[in-house]
């Protein structure tokens, strides 16, 4: 093992750690995108609102408050989307599989158009 090996290993470790730190401290998004089987909606993150949409199994209620989002009422057996609690960072998401509802925080102008299956 030579000295340049150790230098390059330390450099790569520094790069990885910097990426981790960046991904934890990156600025939050400003747009809440909600996908349901009956349509897609966009809401600003900084306005407190109560949203009511229709999922596959019934009504679905979402709350936006203090730059955070959560699901408050859903008709699904395990209630995982409600147990997830508040989300507030760019890229975070709440997914309810029985209702086919996806709530996702993103930055404006960074939306993915479509993903093939």
């Amino acid at each position: 093992m030579k000295i340049t090996d150790i230098i390059i290993i330390l450099l790569i470790i520094f790069l990885g750690t910097a990426g981790l730190v960046y991904s934890f401290n990156s600025p939050g998004g400003d747009n809440v995108s909600i996908q349901t089987p009956y349509g897609d909606y966009d809401y600003p993150l900084n306005k407190n609102t109560l949203i009511s949409v229709r999922g596959l199994r019934g009504p679905y209620k979402i709350e936006i408050k203090d730059n955070r989002v959560r699901a408050i009422e859903a008709d699904c057996p395990l209630q995982l989307c409600i147990k997830k609690g508040w989300i507030n960072r760019d890229g975070d998401s709440i997914v309810c599989i029985p209702n086919r509802v996806i709530i996702r925080i993103e930055k404006k102008g960074q939306k993915i158009d479509a993903v093939t299956e």
């Binding site: 093992m1 030579k2 340049t4 090996d5 390059i8 290993i9 790569i12 470790i13 790069l15 990885g16 750690t17 910097a18 990426g19 981790l20 960046y22 991904s23 934890f24 990156s26 960072r89 760019d90 890229g91 960074q110 993915i112 993903v115």
Partner: protein, 175 residues
């Protein structure tokens, strides 16, 4: 020892024998790659990269094009066997393997005397992760989650690179 001699005298071999050598190396790294997927790991998608041993030995013997050739054919054969050819997985593994080989080859060619086996192996693992991250970014766009995943895999690849380097250093003369 025979294998190492054949790699060293590659130009002097008969044409038939060159093909035997390439297919033997491809099969060898394919076996190592499937052994790799059997070892339990803390992160589901991660691989230790023992298949990289063959590439690393070829790079250290200064057989750059042989190494690229073996890396590509190993990925194609592996994808044909597992049935993932022309999918994201195939693109990721081929891009990563070729990227790692090219990176290691360039570093060995232009700064080889400053690095030992371990350094070159770590650089190869790093390039593998980086190229895979770039391919993922190309398809899905950059995101906080993807940056997190790539950084985590880069940290993991340092450990794997050191491990592979040690294995090569230890078993180089048994080949």
């Amino acid at each position: 020892m025979q294998l190492l001699n054949d790699i060293r005298n590659y130009e002097k071999l008969k044409n038939n024998y060159k093909i035997y050598l390439i297919s033997f190396l491809t099969a060898f790294s394919g076996i190592l790659s499937s052994l790799d997927s059997m070892i339990p790991k803390p992160i589901p998608m991660a691989k230790i990269g023992i298949a990289n041993i063959i590439t690393l030995v070829l790079i250290l013997e200064d057989r750059f094009f042989l190494a690229v050739w073996v890396a590509i054919s190993r990925c194609v054969v592996g994808a044909l066997m597992t049935g993932t050819i022309l999918s994201y997985t195939f693109l990721l593994s081929t891009g990563g393997a070729v990227g790692a080989t090219v990176g290691m080859g360039l570093v060995f060619r232009y700064a080889g005397k400053h690095f030992s086996e371990i350094g070159i192996s770590v650089i190869g693992a790093f390039f593998n992760t980086l190229i895979q991250g770039l391919i993922v970014t190309m398809f899905f766009g950059i995101d906080r989650g993807i940056v997190f995943l790539i950084s985590l895999f880069i940290l993991f690849s340092v450990v794997n690179g050191i491990l592979t380097g040690f294995i090569v250093k230890r078993f180089y003369h048994f080949l």
